[in-house]
């Protein structure tokens, strides 16, 4: 009984951190602060993954999204503005289309999650997942895995090509 209660407290505090910082990301006026608030959103997501006994996914969340993508976002913000500028503001454009699109996305996601039978399945306990993920990636899902990696490589090379044009001018 107390165990379930503790679990609930843990889950809801994690959810509160994630959603609260996500709200700061969305509604914060200061762009850099928003980016740093994203850090807490991503950490909260990782914690929820751990809560779901998906340790490998959680650590990859930290590794890729915080260690990589968030840092790139911060670099992007700084290098496109004047570099010393505490006052990088976020503006609100296209309020109505944005909100509509968000609501539609929420609806689609909600329906997708409801139709997926995962909700009834409770994980039996903590089982190490990394071995299974590695095996599946190199056997059953080898082709999607390779396609994703090639697509990323193409994006990388494309970004470099586009970025270098200005230098050669």
């Amino acid at each position: 009984m107390v165990d379930i209660w503790l679990e609930r407290v843990l889950f809801y505090s994690l959810a509160a951190i994630t959603i609260g910082s996500a709200l700061v990301v969305t509604f914060g006026r200061n762009l850099v602060r928003s980016a740093f608030a994203l850090f807490f959103t991503l950490m909260g997501m990782a914690a929820i993954f751990i809560y779901l006994a998906a340790d490998f996914v959680a650590i990859m969340q930290i590794f890729v999204y915080i260690g990589g993508i968030l840092v790139l976002i911060l670099f992007g913000i700084w290098l496109t503005h004047r570099i010393i500028d505490l006052d990088i503001r976020a503006g609100r454009v296209q309020l109505v289309p944005g909100v509509t699109l968000g609501l539609v996305l929420l609806l689609v996601l909600w329906m997708a999650i409801r139709s997926f039978a995962l909700l009834d399945r409770v994980p039996a306990g903590y089982i190490a997942t990394s071995r299974g993920i590695g095996r599946l990636l190199l056997t059953t899902y080898l082709l999607p895995f390779e396609i994703a990696s090639v697509a990323l490589l193409v994006a990388l090379v494309g970004a470099i090509v586009i970025g270098r044009k200005e230098v050669e001018r």
């Binding site: 165990d3 740093f36 850090f39 650590i59």
Partner: protein, 423 residues
């Protein structure tokens, strides 16, 4: 943690004393040895004047002995406390067995955190002193030679100074992020210790992704550094933060490749499994020719990830004042230093576990071997810092992207073939 929880549950159950007598004897023996060593050292010094024991030898041996002595003292204290709990049957009186499992884990977690806190504090105290001692020998500095016996009191004096200094938040700074940044850096540094196994059972949390955990916590530090660099509203700080982030992200790749190439020979991400695979002198370092190269790559990358010379561009004094912690003072500044030295130990510990056979070694108990190997790596880091000049930014990037990363891929490929043919 499971191991310790088992001890507690056994004690609460009223079973026999769960901790082996040999463990107590080892810790006791080491503690007495440490006390004898220190006494002999001080007596010799008193009798013979200050140059009897060459100071260089002393500065190598003392940190190790003091650290192991203090840690064995802490372990003895812990065992003593456990014994008191066992005799007075406190756990039965409060009904520890009937507690929910979450609460039991919570208690264990708090205890483990306190242990790690003590470990890191003692560790950093001696690392700072050790570093200054080596710097003193190389550059004829006086402070760490004169304050107390062998300059042992210098770090304590420095620590006190930092504690009583005024804590300033600059007027133009972002107060929230300014106060948050050292917290994130130090939390990441502490979190890495959760996965480090000091011996087969002396590990806070044995995870099947332990290696990834330590590497990921290292990449969390980048966010803290960027936050600190931006929040202080200082150009040196921002440049330092950007340099640091670019450098850490770049050098994570060869470091990760080197670790990966060693992992192909073991086939597990669990640090305890990796260490077990190296028992009996079958260190991964010499299990294939590519592993030696991988070890060197990882070591160079770990220097860059901890922002140490020759990769200390983010805090280059001659260009950037103090880099990403320019505006920090007092206790916040000391948090940055604490995290840096804690990270030095963490990356060296990872190198030790993956390449240098972790805690395996003859005669000495396992944790002592582990600490010995890690301290050797840290010692080389310190020698490097006071010997080599620093890179230029472009040299740093060229070295990483055009040399280390291709070499890392060669290592990965070579080790994969090696594991196929000889594994």
């Amino acid at each position: 943690m499971e191991q310790w929880l088992q001890y507690f549950l056994q004690i609460a159950r009223g079973a026999d004393w769960p901790i082996a007598a040999t463990t107590v004897q080892q810790a006791l023996g080491f503690f007495v040895g440490f006390l004898l060593f220190l006494t002999v050292l001080l007596v010799i010094r008193r009798v013979q004047g200050r140059n009897w024991v060459p100071d260089v030898v002393a500065s190598l041996l003392i940190p190790l002995f003091v650290f192991l002595g203090v840690m064995s003292g802490v372990i003895l204290g812990g065992i003593g406390a456990l014994y008191v709990v066992y005799r007075t049957r406190i756990l039965q009186q409060i009904g520890f067995l009937t507690w929910p499992r979450g609460a039991q884990y919570l208690l264990m977690g708090v205890l483990a955190f306190v242990l790690v806190l003590i470990l890191i504090s003692v560790l950093v105290l001696f690392f700072v002193w050790w570093e200054r001692k080596i710097a003193g020998h190389i550059q004829n500095r006086y402070g760490p030679m004169e304050t107390g016996a062998y300059g042992l009191l210098q770090t304590i004096a420095d620590g006190l100074k930092l504690f009583v200094k005024e804590d300033i938040i600059p007027a133009g700074a972002d107060p929230i992020l300014f106060t948050l940044a050292p917290g994130i850096i130090i939390a990441a540094a502490f979190a890495a210790y959760a996965a480090i196994p000091f011996s087969e059972h002396l590990v806070v949390a044995r995870m099947n992704i332990g290696l990834l955990w330590i590497v990921a916590m290292g990449s969390l530090v980048v966010i803290g550094i960027l936050m600190a660099g931006w929040a202080q509203n200082n150009k040196w700080g921002l440049f330092g933060g950007m340099r640091s982030a670019a450098q850490v992200i770049s050098y994570e790749i060869p470091g990760g490749l080197a670790l990966l190439s060693a992992l192909t020979l073991v086939g597990s991400l669990d640090l305890v499994d990796i260490a077990r695979a190296q028992s009996g002198g079958r260190w991964l370092l010499w299990s294939s020719p590519f592993s030696v190269v991988a070890f060197i790559i990882y070591y160079i990358a770990s220097l860059a990830e901890t922002n140490r010379t020759p990769f200390d561009l983010p805090e280059a004094e001659s260009e950037l004042v103090a880099g990403y912690f320019t505006e920090y003072s007092g206790i916040r500044f000391s948090m940055f230093m604490l995290a840096e030295y804690a990270n030095m130990f963490a990356v060296s510990a990872l190198a030790t576990i993956v390449f240098l056979g972790a805690w395996h070694g003859p005669w000495l108990p396992a944790p002592v071997w582990f600490v010995l190997k890690v301290f050797t790596l840290v010692f080389i880091m310190m020698l490097v810092r006071w010997t080599f000049p620093r890179f230029r930014v472009d040299q740093l990037m060229v070295f990483c992207w055009k040399f280390l990363i291709p070499l890392g891929f060669v290592c990965l490929f070579g080790n994969a073939l090696w594991a196929l043919w000889f594994g």
